[in-house]
Symmetry: C2
Subunit: 339 residues, 2 copies
DNA sequence: TTGAAAGCGCTAACAG
DNA sequence: CTGTTAGCGCTTTCAA
């Protein structure tokens, strides 16, 4: 049990002045005499006075809290995004309350409710992979509660959002594979209804087209984003009689699951099968062979999301701005055949 | 800008009763007539009333916030611990404010200050690797602000803490290496002043002794916990004229850096050099070869830390309880020589 | 059975 | 230049 914090009242008592005098002195109000101001500030300093945010919040009706909902907190991808959000929030004197939906729509809905109960001033959200109904967000919009999406968004809703250019990325990967001699390029995607899955599929198809390759639907697999499901998807690809000579996965988990499975079945990477994924630097270089990948600008994504948030909190009106971040392809050994 | 939340006053006005009646009805006070209670509850439900935590906090002098300081937020290790803390906090109706010291003592000190300014009710902390002065924590103790350490602790301070049994773990690793034919077992440790480094060193030395191996100080290297430094440390080991035949690293980063470096220099794992580390499941199986490792019970560590926190908040007195969690060795390919 | 009033810490309009 | 007062939303004692 911490001791009670010092309050304006305490300071006022001690100096035999009124609370408002202390309050004013501390914010350099011109009405207060210089000597008084000095005296008060000295005592405040000595007693280690800091204003009680609860009282301020009650007065101003603001908590300076932002609710953040991510599908999974235990991945570098999201924790890096969270760091970005946190940085910008801090600059604005806000702090963030992080919750995880665990990829469940039900938990996402509960998170929204709980965060609102905690009086967060708004939400920054990455949708769970299950989320296909948006009434819990529509309610927010109706009540003019600031909302920003990142990465996985609902495109029907007029909500500011930060996106990575996955379409461009998958196109680049496809072309890169083709240039390295691959003809049967497989893609393990995420749940079909997610915008990221859709965009990246478009990029994949465009890439194929530009390379003059035909689209074979056997080579495009949707899977939920678990390691088990990704392994199954990989096995399915490897059972095809006309096997792929390249595979790319839509995120870390899938890329690694594919890598494990491909190796397990005795195929050489990249000579038998080339591999690429969406991952961060660290993970890509830790595996063997180092994984060609497009690295999400995660930290920056978090920053941008938070910036959008503060824009919509300042302009007291709904904005509907989309920020698109570029993604770069980093070529490593897993996709460059030695032949 | 969100609409104003509904308040007791709003409900009271609408029903033409007093605020206190509404307040009482909502908490089933026996004084209020059943019909009144019912009516009030119905309206509260309809209007979606939730109590304003700011007002409650101001009244009760509690924020229901716990400050958490970790050295680095972007690792599975810490994010998993945080999840554990979060789970228990939630069960108690608390939420957590996470900050990262980025392994800097200065930032750690600032974090403590900022969190106190935000009126967190207490702190759960893992020390930065730099921290060798504890006045910022002593101040907390003097003011009876609940404090719990996990993993990296200050042993001089009487603070409840959760620890993993690193001493036992390193002993097991050492013995395991020996059983697999290794005679020159190297250990890349963390900064010397950290308790985890010290404990694990003791385990290492005990392990050597029990195996009848002599301690060679060339084989014990301290490094700061960056990937670059870990690579340098590995290079140093590999330059010894009497090279190690086994290396283990004190955490994920170091284990992987060592693996990369060992491979790079053309040594076969495990046949030339066996490897082991402290990592989590996922990372261990993603690398090649799969890494023998002791896996920290991270989530559990977070849970225990939070439990300790609530113990010390409930008993209104300083407690000094240490919780020691067991660590298991999981043997994988990186340490089992084939010969 | 219900209401009025005080107080948690703070600010700001209004008095003096 | 400084003090008084009301009020943010809530609980709780005291009064009716």
């Amino acid at each position: 049990m911490g001791k009670r914090h010092i309050s304006l009242k305490d300071l006022a008592h001690e100096l035999g002045v009124s609370i408002s005098t202390v309050s004013r002195a501390l914010k350099n109000h011109p009405d207060i005499s210089p000597e008084m101001t000095k005296k008060i500030k000295a005592l405040a300093e000595e007693r280690n006075y800091t204003p009680n945010p609860l009282a301020m919040g009650l007065l101003r009706q603001q908590t300076k809290m932002i609710g953040v909902i991510v599908p999974d907190i235990n991945t570098h991808f999201y924790s890096s995004i969270i760091s970005g959000i946190e940085k910008v929030a801090k600059e604005h004197g806000y702090f963030i309350v992080i919750t995880s939906s665990n990829e469940s729509m039900q938990k996402e809905i509960e998170s929204v409710e709980n965060l609102l109960k905690s009086r967060v001033e708004g939400l920054i959200v990455c949708l769970s992979q299950e989320t296909n109904d948006f009434t819990h967000f529509e309610k927010l919009i109706r009540n003019e509660i600031p909302l920003v999406f990142f990465d996985r968004v609902c495109e029907e809703l007029e909500v500011p959002a930060v996106l990575a250019n996955g379409q461009d990325a998958t196109k680049k990967i496809t072309q890169h594979f083709f240039k390295n001699g691959c003809k049967r390029i497989a893609y393990i995607s995420g749940p079909e209804h997610l915008n990221i899955s859709q965009n990246r599929k478009v990029g994949y198809l465009n890439g194929l087209k530009e390379c003059g390759l035909e689209y074979d639907q056997d080579l495009l697999i949707h899977c939920n984003l678990s390691i088990e499901d990704a392994k199954l998807a990989t096995q399915k690809l490897l059972r095809l009689k006309n096997k792929p000579d390249a595979i790319f996965g839509v995120n870390d988990t899938i890329a690694f699951a594919a890598m494990i499975e491909v190796k397990k079945q005795g195929y050489k990477i990249p000579d038998d099968i080339s591999l690429a994924g969406f991952t961060d630097e660290f993970h890509s270089i830790v595996v063997d062979p180092p994984l060609t990948s497009v690295s999400h600008p995660t930290f920056q994504m978090g920053e941008e999301a938070a910036k959008l948030f503060f824009e919509s909190i300042e302009k007291e009106t709904n904005i509907n701005k989309k920020v698109m971040l570029p993604i770069d392809l980093v070529v490593r050994e897993s996709s460059v055949k030695k032949q």
